[in-house]
Point group: C2
Chain length 358, copies 2
């Protein structure tokens, strides 16, 4: 049975992840080792891991560490992509980890028919977002799948190490192209160790990506090299509240390229945890676990105090959804205005990075 | 049911190739269009094709044509590899076809654990053989799989065009790595059209390679491009006479790097079509269809007259195997001496070709 499906946008049942799939909880043994506090860990957004404790120790002991992520350059960053980017950048700052960032332009072409010319433009925008979010490009290796031969070579070599039984146990019966793309992702994840002399790599992902992590760790075990670590974040809900925020559901997302006014309007029509009537809401408080507004606040847009205050007011029935929406919409607008201003100045730099990337 | 297996060294049952697999016979409609006579066609060594008539017409009409082949650089050329090389070079001369030659170094690493350094040396020797056999390197594109990104990118894109049913129908249930390698071969075959502006490509192969041709033609059909043509040669028997000459059976081969004396000795102990007793042989003649010596003569080492004379004497019981062996061994020795002398002078050029190859 396949319990985690990386190609679905259903929200996860986190219950069995620890017992059944062997993920570990992020606990104080780990957080106590972090120098700076970060909302990702403080708020339990990053809530699970594999071998992240070992990665942290390796970094603290001066080993060469890396953090690996990537994107299919088919769309602008949305708040889900921003979450991963924030993790990437935090690990770069916290551990001095070299960032490896794969731009999967072949996949964009093969899956979505996006030409290399088009995807190059999207990639420049994605990289400008990364820079605006704080990426230090001097300690980063950003590459395009169509140019980085080594990843494909590794995928090819890995294909000799895996059996259908391994692939089917993890992914179920799937297309050959899908198996090729997961082997390519394994190539992305293991390239820092195999080609760049990195000792330990961590991969920040949503829990839905765990199958790729398990496959890659299985391959690393077969190769006799260090198994890459992973950290797992909870999903942000889409604006409609029914599924994870994903580019597969374009109406449910806010992108970093949205006009601030438009993004604000999206927030005003987002799904909330509000009760049927005002009286009920005053009496019972909101259903905060279902609320998209609260997700926006916690995952991205408000500091600890503001989050806590919003929660208190909501659960105490002291704020109605209309007012709450206006407040959160304002925060989203302000963030986007500032982000886009920063980003504009970084597009040339992003263009150069892509130009000189493998 | 899988009837042709590219990974077996069994000799083929040619019977059903035309009826069941839709290959066409090489007939006078084709051979009459060839300017020069060539043993490959005169002796029915190249005996079947797909769309070669169309390829010939395209070439005659001034379209840009190419011939594609390649090698896994794990061993020296043997007489089977020489056969394909002869075809390649003949098509280059006859049609002005640009030669595309893939050196599958990743495959050599993944399959046989041969390092890129090692396989590079073998590749230089293979290319020097090609030059000594007559390849015009000015109308050729020789590339290494590890360096030619475009082939891998195509393989990736093709993986979206094929289904398991297609692959299973052609190859049966196989390892994922095998499917990846056949998609890579499809990338090799279609790259001239897709990336180099070639109008028509022909691929000279043994019949055992027809599954790759069919797969590649299926992919080309899905892409809406010209289906590559193919020509098929009969197998040379291994020296033991029981299977095709293949590097999988190292004792049964003569390589172009064998010392002439050693190769001569191999011929002296080769399997022949001789009868049990001299009397019987004088009375019935030899079983020439089973005879490795006759294969050596026809496939490589003797001119039309000498071949015909050998056949007459054998079937008429006028030559015994011992004498025949000595004659053929002498021809093999002479060929190797001359070839190796030529080759020695071409190693530097081959080195440069590999150095500057993608």
């Amino acid at each position: 049975m396949i319990d985690i499906d990386p190609w679905s946008n259903a929200l996860a049942d986190y219950g069995r992840l620890f017992s059944q799939f062997g993920m570990q909880e992020i606990d104080s043994a780990i957080t106590s080792k972090l120098r700076g506090k970060h909302r990702l860990f403080e708020r339990n957004i990053v809530f699970a891991h594999r071998d992240f404790d070992k990665f942290v120790d390796a970094a603290k002991n001066g080993r060469k560490v890396a953090v690996m992520s990537g994107i299919k350059p088919s769309n602008e960053f949305h708040l889900g992509s921003k979450l991963t980017a924030d993790e990437l950048i935090y690990y770069q700052k916290e551990f001095g980890a070299k960032v490896f960032y794969a731009i999967a332009d072949i996949e964009a072409y093969a899956d979505n028919g996006i030409s290399f010319e088009e995807s190059r433009k999207v990639a420049v925008s994605n990289v400008a977002d990364l820079l605006a979010l704080g990426l230090d490009e001097k300690n980063a290796c950003i590459y395009r799948q169509s140019k980085e031969m080594r990843v494909m070579n590794l995928a090819y070599i890995f294909s000799k190490k895996v059996t259908y039984n391994m692939l089917r146990a993890i992914y179920g019966e799937r297309d050959i192209s899908l198996y090729m793309s997961v082997l390519t992702q394994a190539g992305d994840i293991l390239m820092p160790q195999l080609e760049f002399g990195i000792d330990y790599t961590v991969v920040p992902v949503g829990v839905d990506q765990d199958p790729h992590i398990r496959l890659t760790r299985d391959i690393a075990a077969k190769l006799g090299i260090t198994l890459p670590a992973a950290t797992y974040h909870r999903f942000m809900k889409s604006l409609s509240g029914t599924e994870k925020m994903s580019k597969r559901n374009p109406k449910g997302i806010i992108t970093l390229a949205d006009k601030p006014e438009e993004a604000g309007k999206k927030v005003l029509s987002a799904f909330t945890g509000g009760r049927t009537t005002v009286d009920e809401q005053k009496k019972l408080g909101g259903e905060i676990d279902k609320c998209v507004l609260y997700d926006l606040s916690v995952f991205h847009f408000e500091n600890d105090e503001a989050c806590a205050e919003r929660k208190r007011k909501c659960l105490g029935g002291r704020i109605m959804c209309g007012a709450c929406k206006k407040e959160v919409a304002a925060k989203v607008r302000i963030f986007l205005e500032e982000h886009q201003k920063k980003k504009e100045k970084l597009v040339d730099k992003a263009e150069k990075i892509i130009e000189h990337s493998n």
